[in-house]
């Protein structure tokens, strides 16, 4: 039973990080109907920026808390900047192109960014500093839930709540919802659609950066390739929940996290990634609209 709880909590942690990345996919898809392939790379760049900034600050001798805060901010700022730039370069000129064009452009961007980091940094795995402090709590059950996991769970919950508030009540949130529903109508009533799209990329990228920092400090190492697998898994989660739906992305992520955790815990860890891919294939075949998504009828 204890093993079950350990796997359960591990799955929740994993799922909540997937959720941070999945939200970026879902928000972008909701607005411009594009699978932003480069989103995984944005998350990877967030993790790298945090690593670099944290290392520099450690050498400079700052205290741990300051490092955590500054590295996270740097990660968020840079991820947002990359997300913004990627949209401007690779997607904006293709707003009216056939559907496959921006998708291919996105794949190209993803490969480009991977290799950019590979060339500018290294192909090796880099040890990631444990930015999140270890502290004692919940004795004697701490072996079930490590303090980093607790931090991850709390942080993601807070972020989800903030995001929901942002989308529900702020002006930009309303503009985003309007654009997602009907872009040309939103434009007619005076929404600056280009700005909304940019903001969506910025917000999604920030979330991915937070996910990047959290997962890197949890796992303890990163390399240029982490974005690819994480990206596909987060996308799986988004599809599972229903692409375009924000609660769906969170639900899907938690289900995927738990599935992976239990499957690797009880079945076999060799096929860890196969479970995610298999789940992805199965959902798309049997319920392409996802759990909370609405199936949309094609306009003719």
């Amino acid at each position: 039973m204890e093993y079950f709880f350990e796997l359960f909590l591990g799955g929740l942690t994993r799922g909540s990080i997937y959720a941070l990345i999945a939200l970026g996919y879902t928000m972008v898809y909701g607005i411009i109907e594009l699978i932003n392939f480069a989103h995984g790379e944005i998350y990877m760049i967030g993790a790298f920026t945090a690593l670099i900034v944290a290392s520099v600050l450690t050498v400079m001798g700052l205290n741990e808390f300051a490092i955590l805060v500054l590295a996270s901010i740097a990660a968020a700022v840079y991820s947002a900047a990359y997300g913004y730039t990627v949209e401007k370069i690779a997607y904006k000129p293709l707003r009216h192109a056939p559907r496959l064009s921006p998708l291919i452009s996105a794949i190209g961007m993803s490969i480009f960014l991977q290799n950019y980091v590979l060339l500018a940094q290294t192909s090796d795995f880099l040890p990631f500093p444990s930015l999140i402090p270890d502290f004692e709590f919940w004795e004697p059950y701490s072996h079930l839930l490590r303090s980093t996991q607790l931090v991850i769970l709390v942080t993601t919950t807070v972020i989800m709540v903030l995001l929901t508030l942002l989308i529900k009540y702020t002006k930009i949130g309303k503009a985003m919802r309007a654009t997602a529903q009907d872009r040309s109508m939103a434009m007619l009533v005076g929404v600056n659609v280009n700005q909304v799209i940019s903001m969506t990329f910025v917000i999604g990228s920030c979330l991915a950066a937070v996910g990047g920092v959290l997962i890197a400090s949890h796992i303890g190492q990163i390399n240029f390739f982490i974005g690819f697998i994480a990206g596909i898994k987060a996308f799986t989660a988004a599809v599972l929940g229903g692409v375009g739906s924000i609660p769906g992305a969170v639900l899907g992520s938690l289900i995927l996290g738990l599935t992976e955790s239990f499957a690797t815990g009880y079945v076999s860890s060799d096929y860890e990634d196969v479970f995610a891919f298999a789940l992805l294939v199965l959902i798309l075949i049997f319920r392409p609209a996802g759990l909370l998504g609405r199936s949309t009828m094609q306009k003719v």
């Binding site: 699978i35 730039t85 064009s101 500018a120 294939v281 798309l284």
Partner: protein, 405 residues
Amino acid sequence: MMPTLSEIKKSFLVSLWFMFLTFPIMVIRVNTTEKLVLWRWENMAYMGIGSFLLSFVWRYMLWRKETGKKDSESGTLQLPSFFERILSDRRYIVPATAAGIALVAIFPFVMDTYQTNIMITALMYIVLGLGLNIVVGLAGLLDLGYVAFYAVGAYTYGLLNHHFGLGFWTVLPIGAVMGAFFGILLGFPVLRLRGDYLAIVTLGFGEIIRLILENWNEFSFGPSGIAQIARPSLFGIQLSLSSSIIYLYFVMIGMVLFTIFVVNRLQNSRIGRAWIALREDEVACQAMGIDKTRTKLTAFALGATWAGMVGVIFAAKTTFINPASFTFLESAMILAIVVLGGMGSIVGVSIAALILILLPEYLRAFSEFRMLIFGAIMVIMMVFRPQGIVANVRRSYKFQPDKHS
């Protein structure tokens, strides 16, 4: 055209932005174990100058594309590319073809085995590109798991050769059939999905196949792969290493010609037109009486057939295969070839395969940046020249007006 002051200002801002953007990744390099920080300020300068100049090029190309679009709307044709101009000029095309044939014939005899090997690889990618071109270029189905069928072909030969000692020529058709079989098997459930979902699912399938090959040791020998696969034999005679490479070279030339022949016939046939119609407008295509699922499935299966065959050749060429050769990047590389060459264009895809495979081999400075460039090519082509370096020109038909009127 002189850049105006406001454009210089714009480019200056772009360059500032990129210096900021690339600052942590390009400038700082940390050695986490020894707690050393390396500052590479020169990179920032390169970045600044480079992006300043590139932003002019970028804007110029965007402007050219816009004017090109306006021209084509008003009836005049789009700007032909360098390759298109060469190809449409009779003065060049005849001597170029003659020189090409001569070069192809003597190449393995004047070059060493190393060069010949590289050329074989390039020829393999021509065939892979043309195969994927059926799926992506003609039928408009973005298949990101194409490498899976390549792996199927390679393992078909590897395993059949290892366990039963079957030879290359026996397995080549089996590889083709296995490719087609897996194409149908994977294609059947996923082909009713919308374009972008299809891309993701095929990507997932590709990775699943690779992961199975990596982990199912009893079947595929896991990451260590299969070694000592037989090279192709000539009427049962085993050739020496160097002559077998020359032999393989000509096999590959034959394969390329065969592929071009078949793809060319396909694209001007009833089936080929149905693929293109499907790519252009799925709803209209169905409304015109074309069975969507069946048409997609033929495209998928035929594309996979080629990957299966080249897989067999790959196993025979390297005599060693393992799952590491069949990653997503391989699929992406083949896709880059199709995108650069021009969707649906046989000549374009062939030229693109030669450029993308040979250039990094001969320009050593390139090889490091190979995947970086491949990624950039996909973005740049989509933004500026989605029809590729050689646009696919549809066949025109002649009619005598008196015959029908």
